[in-house]
């Protein structure tokens, strides 16, 4: 009886292992089939996009390292990553919204500096009538100390300055209006 039991157990163990192996094989085939499907349908996280990007970046690196593209000969016509060339100074022309003149895009920033008041000459420009009146009388008059504030773009003085300026402007305006 005991011998029979032991044989039984041994054969049971073997049968179990075998059966477990079958289950495992089925699951392995399922996993392989799933991965195959994902691969063939291209559902996997942009496998190819990465390769494409790697290739493009390698190409770009080659182009950058290539001496014939850099510096002297082609400084005016450097080619960007899309293969386009741009002139060194942007040459589109449009109208300045402050003074109304036709300005070239590449010269717009320096133009704005002069036009809007960074420079000395800008402060003399006529933008608002009250400030204009004030400015005309500001040279040599006792209120000249206040004139810098009226056209100032200094933001640190804004909180006190604007209200002060407004008050001063109006007071000067009323003061100066005969």
């Amino acid at each position: 009886m005991s011998g029979f039991n032991e044989d039984n157990k041994a054969s049971h163990a073997q049968l179990s292992s075998q059966f477990f192996g079958d289950l495992l094989d089925s699951i392995i085939v399922d996993v392989a089939s799933e991965c195959h499907r994902i691969a063939r349908l291209g559902l996997d996280r942009n496998l190819e996009e990465e390769e494409e990007e790697l290739r493009l970046s390698a190409q770009a690196r080659v182009r950058v390292a290539d001496p014939s593209n850099s510096g002297e000969s082609n400084s005016k016509y450097v080619v960007d990553i899309f293969g386009q060339t741009h002139p060194p100074v942007a040459n589109e022309i449009f109208d300045c919204m402050n003074c109304g003149r036709s300005i070239m895009a590449g010269r717009f920033a320096p133009h704005l500096e002069k036009c809007m008041g960074k420079g000395r000459k800008a402060r003399l420009k006529v933008t608002r009538s009250s400030t204009a009146v004030q400015n005309r009388y500001s040279q040599g008059s006792p209120v000249s100390t206040y004139s810098p504030y009226s056209n100032s773009t200094n933001t640190s003085r804004l909180s006190n300055g604007t209200s002060g300026v407004a008050g001063e402007e109006y007071s000067n305006g009323t003061f100066q209006e005969p």
């Binding site: 163990a13 079958d22 289950l23 089925s26 392995i28 996993v31 089939s33 991965c35 691969a39 063939r40």
Partner: protein, 111 residues
């Protein structure tokens, strides 16, 4: 009498297949009919996902696909790729649990 009349009957192909089914086959049938095979499959699938085994196998497949090119891969390739590693990397606890259940069933089925 012509010799052809006494010719022995052609052996029937069906005869060779009527042998006793092997123990394996009997067990398999019992497992399937009772639904235990289905349950065990689901249990094993669940355990293998939980422990990350499936993710490991998928990673192996992905690496292989990347190397070979995604349109050059067959299911067979992947099966042959995964099987040795897959069988070897089953956690012992999972294997023990499944074997225990299988043995219990064998005993209960009086096999």
């Amino acid at each position: 009498m012509r010799a052809s009349v006494n010719r022995p009957p052609t052996p029937d192909v069906g005869d060779t297949q009527e042998k006793q089914p092997t123990l394996e086959e009997i067990i398999n049938i019992k497992f399937i009919e009772s639904g235990e095979k289905e349950r065990l499959m689901e249990l094993l699938r669940e355990r293998l996902i939980e422990c990350g085994w499936k993710d490991e196998m998928k990673a192996l497949c992905r690496a292989f696909v990347k190397k070979k090119g995604r349109n050059n891969v067959t299911v067979d390739d992947l099966v042959h790729l995964i099987t040795p590693k897959g069988r070897a990397s089953i956690p012992d606890s999972i294997k023990a649990e499944l074997l225990q259940r299988i043995r219990t069933f064998l005993v209960s089925a009086a096999l």
